[in-house]
Subunit: 332 residues, 2 copies
DNA sequence: CTGTTAGCGCTTTCAT
DNA sequence: ATGAAAGCGCTAACAG
């Protein structure tokens, strides 16, 4: 645990090589034309001294940090983990670093975190911000360049989103086609845009089928929420359940099975996200595969465009894929 | 997507308030004694201009960034996600930001990533580095302050680790006590320290019971690895399986069940980590609960100590907790 | 082709 | 108590 020796500065290298700072700078940046002999000499001494330019100093003078910030509502949420992963990998390829900030689902923290991290970075990606539109719009202006993930189209920033509405509608249609007429929807975080999109899907489904009854029950986003909703679900007498996501579906599935209810014979359950475990529940979960990693990668691409002065697609919608497995069957 | 207005600088505030830079700086840092009237005036104009000190400039002059780096082998690995979460939350409480770097399990990337991110931060946490001891030791010296997670004790840095050896030994003892005499171990990433710790646990168990046979089979760290190992496991005729982690156990469980093998009647399976789903498999998984979030939190605390000049505990070992569920039973 | 100089925005002696 | 000035380490005109 000894102290590391002070890092060599450009001045050290210049002195050691017997040249000026500018020359060292030019050599290190492959800039302009420098005498080959000098280039060689500077390179050598730089290597010898283990010199590398101080990124902070460079950032200050260049006005860019080669770093972006990602603000997520909850690092424990698999969806955000996947999005973060997509961003991180894609950004790394372009030589960018990623600063993370977790708002812990505290909506009042989002603005502060975004603004603060923005100041140390070249841009920010807001993953599924929970704040309302009235707050988001103005914030985006001050944050530019900024990209928003999983929200509706914005004036002030490109948006990359998974089409939850379409996907849940598809799941609802699937149940309806199987003969289910009374189904329940286990809702997630009330204020989240992805929950709103799902509610819209429910409306679509209701409008399309007047023999279809959909009952909304507040639940949550994790396994326990699903388990806790079991009694409420049974009380409705519904034959099908659209769970907010796979975790909720799994919790419900387990709780129902423990009560001796058979899935899908007595009741059908759908998940959402297609997390890796979804295929390993018993029965395996019918769900919708959300390309979260790809969403992250596209968010990076949009931000990168902004950073390089290119135009970014204002709204990119990625369509989740319906995955039919064994947790759904014809209504009893 | 308009451009954000240039941020106000300390010079702007000084001019607007009719004072010198130093005074503004003093006020903003609550430094020294400044005339209350001036403090008020500076505060007001700063607020009016929406001024906040440029973190980059501060970092350059102060020599600290209020940021740390975390290098993980794979952001997709739930264990590292949890560790990262623990670090992130704990660091946020102390007002630190977190830069993440994912080496993608490419061992040769680790050193570069660590060194590069270190230069933009005040310290780094190496989560389960895959490089060997010969590489790690010297690297730590150049990285200081640095904390290592899930490796053996180091000379040059504090280490925070979960005691995988003890935990797997406990699981093995559990199977032995149930009468299992031939069991298989589904190994993870060969070069990882956590795998090595598990192998040591196996040795401990073998040494303690000469009627115990443990067969090692290379698998992996994810669900598919477990599923793919099913045939190999059956071929051994073992009555118990120690899976590398819960994911592997789940994959195996599913694959075995599909083949009509009953768990735990025909064969017992143990997982590792106690991920949230472990209790929701059927049967629920006997496993060992690794306090990964807490490991992360402690790693931050160690680094924070280093950062503030305090002594850090050289080696902190967190003991996973045995969780008995229904995937293990007496040997047939 | 190379060196000198002026900042990037801020903190911190050092004077006054 | 306040301001002037130096400097963190680097890049980019600007001269020569």
């Amino acid at each position: 645990m000894s102290e590391a020796p002070r890092k060599a500065t450009i001045t050290d290298v210049a002195r050691a090589a017997g040249v000026s700072l500018s020359t060292v700078s030019r050599v290190m940046n492959g800039n302009a034309t420098v005498d080959p002999a000098l280039v060689e000499r500077v390179r050598a001494t730089a290597a010898e001294l283990g010199y590398a330019a101080n990124p902070l100093a460079r950032s200050l003078v260049l006005g860019r940090t080669q770093t972006i910030a990602v603000v997520v509502p909850d690092l424990g949420n698999p969806t955000f983990q996947a999005i973060l992963r997509g961003i991180s990998h894609a950004a790394a390829v372009d030589g960018y670093h990623v600063l993370i900030a977790d708002s812990g689902e505290r909506v009042e923290e989002e603005r502060v975190l975004a603004e603060e991290t923005r100041r140390r970075t070249d841009g920010v990606i807001l993953a599924a911000p929970r704040m309302d539109e009235a707050q988001l719009g103005p914030l985006l202006e001050t944050l530019a360049p900024v990209v928003v993930v999983n929200r509706g189209r914005q004036d002030a920033a490109p948006v990359v989103a998974a089409d939850y509405r379409h996907a849940l509608r598809e799941l609802a249609e699937h149940l309806h086609a199987l003969g289910h007429r009374r189904i329940v929807f286990l809702a997630g975080v009330a204020r989240s845009a992805s929950n709103a999109a799902r509610l819209a899907a429910l409306e679509d489904a209701r409008a399309a089928h007047d023999d279809l009854e959909i009952i909304e029950i507040p639940a949550g986003v994790d396994v326990d929420s699903g388990a806790e909703a079991a009694e409420a679900v049974l009380a409705t007498g519904a034959t099908g359940v659209l769970a907010f996501n796979d975790l909720v579906a799994m919790g419900l599935l387990t709780a129902l099975t423990e009560r001796g209810i058979r899935v899908p014979d007595d009741i059908s359950i759908t998940g959402f996200d297609d997390i890796p475990f979804a295929r390993h529940t018993s029965p395996p979960l019918t769900t919708s595969a959300v390309p979260a990693v790809e969403v992250g990668a596209q968010a990076w691409r949009a931000l990168h465009s902004l950073l390089t002065g290119d135009e970014a697609t204002p709204f990119a919608s990625l369509v989740p894929q319906l995955v039919l497995r064994a947790s759904t069957a014809p209504a009893p």
